[in-house]
């Protein structure tokens, strides 16, 4: 459902979560922001006490790792709860959290986020640095890391990864405007809007996954989903949909084990899709699985008693009741609070314990007590269990002549409680029904299959926007996202993920503060939003649950999270496992494993999408521009710049052996129109062309002219540092103003032997902030991979 993550209760919810994830994943790329949760995710979290107890319990149960010698090799089977639509980040919907387990084997991420939300560099060499308003982030990349296809992870790859994201189905949701290479191992992300927590995006499974753009181009968006190529500890071997994904050891993995030997330890991992929890349990008991994921406290103890080893994870996810705050009767805060006051969390916990320890801590906000964003005082106004208060508020509403449901004074309040078909949720729903009934509510239960239920709650993009069709529903949510991303989507008007439809000007004001870079102010703003929502009660948290991973006792290292700098990490939410640090006692090396890189097809030139057509698209761009000098527009199709400085006539007299022009639509750096021309030149001609540009820079550093209508042009040639594109690359530009209106061109030459790729583009810049509004002429740019060959 949603997003949430809660414990098992949520198997069903899990699904929900999965769905949500999907939503999320696309949105940001991150791991899901949204959340979801499923069982897997869910974990309880909340309470400190809980956490401590769990930690204790788990530690006692965990195998004593010291003194054992690590064995390398072997194959394990991992039971996961759901299938994903593919494994290529830009176009796959990855099931939460089942698919994330697979993704973590195939892909590294730029950054990792610890259980308490801290950012740790992974493939990135260090923390990214923002500019003044956090709208641009510069990230250094660790050199010497290679994708499974043998290409290197560098700035050019990072730039093309962003381009492929933008070409994918979730591209329009990207928060990244474009990326540019600063040097070979430094990339700069230019965002659509300032985001002080942008590193979280680079730590998510979506935009954070480091995938090979070369393989992405080679296979294309459709085939890439079952040809994933990352830089992670395991390489893709095969995928049988709805059955299993097999990954094998990456012999070139860049990380080394603490003993100095290679990682990963295991030779092969099979991820078997077993949606039914009972089947997963049975497979574990029968010895068909080494690892069961997305288990829950229910039945967990029985497996532990049989000798299986539990690893319980705690995160921000939890189940909850969500109120539709724009639909009677729960548009009235009195009833929202009455319904919450009426539910005894201990009763629900007795039916289905939140975690192995059985300790239930009431949760009041989106963050658990271990989260840096948690604020205990903010939860003081929460509607805790209090029958007398519930009755008082209920009676007050029922006897209010202006009651929002339009019934006569004294008539009982009736509503429908919606949930998915998960039996554990249904148990809980029946308890709620009884508890609400005891104070006078008349409650009907309605269950809907998961996918339909999510649609029902989310609503549609027609009016009323994403209102959904429910009064109270079960849900799951919570994650380690930054509060800006979280609250903006959960309490923003018209947001898909604002399931409760709750908005308030006070929250909007705090969200603005969250956009800033002042840590103390952001912390206070997050706490204030938690305080507001604790009083308004748009949602009522259940006990948090736990995500349980159970393994055979021979499996070791499940809790190991060593960061690249050697620092031990901590267990994290979502039941993630770092497969490269897992090993199997008594395992023997397998034979016949790959020893080199994966072969991928040549990049076909046709993978570039066609230009999105001219006139219509062009009109869109022009329409979006601010008022510009008329002359500049008039020259749209006839750029006069070539006449302004002789140096620019760089191709005069050059007879290429061949010239191929490809149109490329949708490059985020140069706008919707781009083309790259690749010239195959006579020996020496490439040098001639480059020399002419150099000459232009030297001679035409400043020049003036005017357009046809007399608009004055003040321009200059400059050489630009491009970092590293292809074998050799050279950047030039013409920049200046046209009648006071900033314009900019990019001229990029990429040389590979006697091939030269020439890319030009002209932009109109926003007078306000210098950002690119749109190209004026057919420019170009693209994938450098094309030239490199």
């Amino acid at each position: 459902m949603t997003s949430a993550r809660h414990p098992r209760r949520s198997r069903a919810l899990g699904l929900l979560a999965a769905a949500s994830l999907v939503v999320t994943a696309c949105t940001g790329g991150d791991d899901g922001p949204g959340s979801s949760g499923d069982d897997a995710t869910s974990e309880p979290d909340d309470a400190p006490a809980t956490s401590a107890d769990i930690a204790t319990a788990t530690t006692q149960a965990a195998p004593e790792e010291t003194g054992l010698e690590i064995t390398r090799g072997g194959e394990i089977s991992v039971g996961i709860a759901a299938e994903s639509s593919g494994w290529y980040p830009p176009s796959s919907e990855t099931a939460f959290s089942a698919g994330f387990l697979v993704m973590d084997a195939l892909y590294d991420r730029w950054y990792d986020q610890t259980g308490t939300g801290q950012i740790v560099p992974f493939v990135a060499a260090a923390r990214a640095t923002p500019n003044g308003d956090a709208s641009e982030w510069t990230m250094p990349i660790r050199p010497g890391i290679f994708f499974h296809d043998g290409t290197e992870v560098n700035a050019a790859a990072a730039v093309d990864m962003v381009a492929q994201w933008h070409e994918g189905p979730f591209g329009s949701n990207s928060t990244i405007e474009r990326a540019e290479a600063v040097d070979e191992y430094t990339v700069r992300y230019i965002l659509k809007a300032p985001d002080p927590a942008f590193e979280n995006v680079l730590a998510g499974i979506g935009t954070g996954a480091v995938f090979s753009p070369t393989a992405g181009r080679a296979y294309g968006p459709d085939e890439s989903v079952d040809h994933p190529v990352g830089s992670g500890p395991f390489m893709f071997e095969s995928w049988t949909r709805d059955s299993e994904v097999i990954v094998v050891r990456n012999p070139n993995y860049w990380r080394t084990a603490p003993d100095g030997g290679p990682l990963p330890y295991l030779d092969r991992v099979r991820f078997r899709v077993l949606p039914d929890a009972t089947a997963r349990r049975a497979s574990l008991e029968a010895g068909d699985l080494h690892v069961l994921t997305q288990g829950g406290p229910e039945g967990g103890q029985a497996l532990i008693d049989e000798g299986f080893v539990p690893y319980e994870y705690i995160g921000n996810g939890a189940g909850m009741n969500i109120y539709n705050t724009v639909v009677p009767p729960f548009d009235d805060v009195r009833l929202r609070r009455a319904a919450a006051h009426a539910l005894d969390p201990e009763q629900a916990n007795a039916i289905s314990p939140a975690n192995l320890s059985g300790v239930n801590v009431v949760r009041t906000q989106y963050f658990n007590s271990r989260s840096p964003w948690y604020d205990e005082a903010a939860g003081e106004g929460y509607a805790f269990y209090d029958l007398a208060e519930a009755q008082r508020l209920y009676d007050e509403y029922v006897n209010d002549p202006a009651r929002s449901d339009g019934k006569a004074v004294g008539e009982p309040v009736t509503f429908t409680y919606d949930c998915n078909t998960d039996p554990i949720n249904l148990d809980r729903a029946q308890l709620f029904q009884q508890e609400w009934g005891d104070i006078g509510f008349q409650v009907e239960l309605r269950t809907t299959e998961q996918a339909s239920y999510i649609n029902q709650v989310v609503g549609t993009s027609s009016e009323p926007l994403f209102q959904g069709d429910f009064q109270i529903g079960c849900w799951a949510d919570g994650n380690e996202q930054d509060p800006l991303t979280l609250f903006r989507t959960r309490y923003g008007a018209g947001e898909v993920l604002n399931w409760t439809n709750f908005t308030s000007p006070e929250i909007d004001a705090q969200i603005e503060i969250l956009r800033g870079l002042d840590d103390a102010a952001r912390k206070a703003a997050a706490a204030e939003i938690s305080r507001i929502t604790a009083e308004a009660m748009p949602l009522h948290w259940w006990a948090s649950g736990a995500t349980l991973v159970l393994t055979v006792p021979e499996l070791r290292g499940v809790e190991n999270y060593t960061y690249p700098d050697g620092e031990p990490g901590e267990r994290r939410a979502s039941g993630r496992v770092w497969w490269h640090e897992v090993w199997l006692e008594g395992a023997a090396p397998l034979s016949g494993l790959p020893t080199g890189f994966l072969d991928i097809p040549d990049v076909p030139e046709t993978t570039l999408p066609p230009e999105p057509t001219g006139p219509a698209a062009r009109d869109d761009v022009l329409a979006a521009m601010p008022p510009a000098p008329t002359g500049l527009r008039a020259t749209d199709n006839d750029p006069p710049l070539t006449d302004l400085c002789p140096g620019i006539t760089t191709l005069d007299g050059i007879e290429p052996i061949s010239a191929t022009t490809q149109n490329y639509g949708g490059d985020p750096q140069l706008g919707p129109f781009g083309a790259v021309t690749i010239y195959e030149l006579q020996p020496g001609d490439a040098d001639t062309i480059l020399a002419r540009y150099d000459q232009a820079v030297a001679e035409c550093a400043e020049f003036t002219s005017s357009l046809d209508d007399g608009t004055p042009l003040e321009l200059g040639y400059v050489a630009r540092d491009l970092g590293s594109f292809g074998d050799e690359s050279f950047g030039y530009g013409v920049a200046g103003t046209a009648g006071g209106f900033p314009i900019d061109t990019d001229i990029v030459l990429i040389r590979s032997g006697d091939h030269l790729a020439l890319v030009t583009a002209l932009h109109i810049l926003s007078p306000a902030d210098g950002s690119v509004l749109g190209p004026l002429a057919d420019g170009a740019v693209t994938a450098l991979g094309i030239v490199a060959g």
């Binding site: 929890a277 009972t278 349990r281 229910e298 039945g299 103890q301 029985a302 201990e346 009763q347 629900a348 007795a350 039916i351 078909t421 039996p423 554990i424 249904l426 148990d427 729903a429 029946q430 308890l431 029904q433 009884q434 239960l445 309605r446 269950t447 299959e449």
Partner: protein
């Protein structure tokens, strides 16, 4: 004279033609009577369960979760929500008995009228009618059921109607098959010979005999309906909670296995098993007793 004989036969008590002299009837045993008693218990529970001094079958009490069989105050233990299993069994019997009786009654009524009529008339009417019946039978019943329930809502009314509609084609085939056999009988020919009208032949001559067959079939079919209700309840599409149903109770019990608690599933499963077994034993006993032929169904 001939007409007198014919009339007597025709108007004889139903089943006369198939009935053997009393001394030839197979004896029924202890099992038969034990089954009858069990079915009586279920029926009484269904009809008068409300009057029994039992706990509220829907009252949730988490503190009493998973009380064992024979525990204090809970003869058959409690389920995962601490609800009394005996009270829920009795309450669930109401649903099982209601759905199965309505379904079988509708099936027999409609099946007898339509099946006997088209079987006797024959010709194009029969061809068309049986084609429709075969089409209905060729749809996967469970899929239709889940589809309709999902669209029309999970209520006792909807479920009962869908069950009844789905049951009818089987009874029609059964009734027609019996009719085809019976209409070759001399006494039917005799009735025709003396000029009995079609309605009289269908409703007075043939139907009483067809009904005997349908009733024994229906007795067995009750078991099938109870199981079917259990299946959809197990899948979560049955009568919605908190109403207890046997299938829903077994589904609850299935989850309790994960916690190594078996009585939650065993109690309703054994109850359902005994009921189905009893229905089969009683049905078999009656069939042997009345020598209903199963051929040509």
């Amino acid at each position: 004279m001939a007409s007198t004989i014919a009339t007597r036969i025709v108007d004889a008590p139903a089943g006369a033609a198939n009935r053997r002299p009393r001394r030839d009837r197979p004896a029924v045993g202890v099992l038969f009577w034990a089954s009858v008693v069990w079915l009586g218990v279920v029926l009484v529970a269904a009809l008068f369960g409300w009057a029994l001094p039992l706990a509220d079958p829907t009252r949730i009490s988490p503190a009493d979760k998973y009380a064992g069989v024979l525990s204090d105050g809970h003869l058959l233990g409690t389920d995962q929500l601490g609800r009394d299993m005996l009270a829920r069994l009795v309450d669930g019997a109401k649903i099982s008995v209601f759905i199965s009786l309505v379904t079988v009654t509708v099936g027999i009524s409609v099946g007898a009228v339509v099946g006997t009529t088209v079987g006797y008339i024959g010709g194009r009417v029969e061809t068309v009618a049986m084609a429709l019946v075969n089409i209905m039978l060729s749809f996967p019943a469970l899929v239709i059921l889940l589809g309709v329930v999902a669209m029309a809502g999970q209520t006792l009314k909807v479920i009962t109607i869908v069950f009844s509609v789905l049951a009818v084609p089987g009874y029609i085939r059964f009734a027609r098959a019996s009719t085809l056999t019976l209409k070759q009988s001399d006494w039917v020919l005799a009735s025709e010979a003396i000029g009995a009208t079609r309605p009289r032949l269908v409703f007075r001559v043939l139907m009483p005999n067809v009904l005997i067959t349908l009733l024994t079939f229906g007795l067995l079919a009750i078991g099938g309906v109870i199981v079917a209700e259990g299946v959809i309840a197990f899948l979560g599409f049955g009568v919605p909670p908190p109403q207890a149903t046997w299938g829903g109770m077994i589904a609850d019990g299935n989850r309790a296995f994960a916690d190594d608690v078996i009585h939650v599933a065993l109690v309703p499963a054994i109850t359902m098993f005994l009921t189905i077994l009893s229905l089969n034993l009683v049905g078999d006993g009656l069939r042997r007793r009345y020598q209903v032929r199963e051929a040509r169904i």
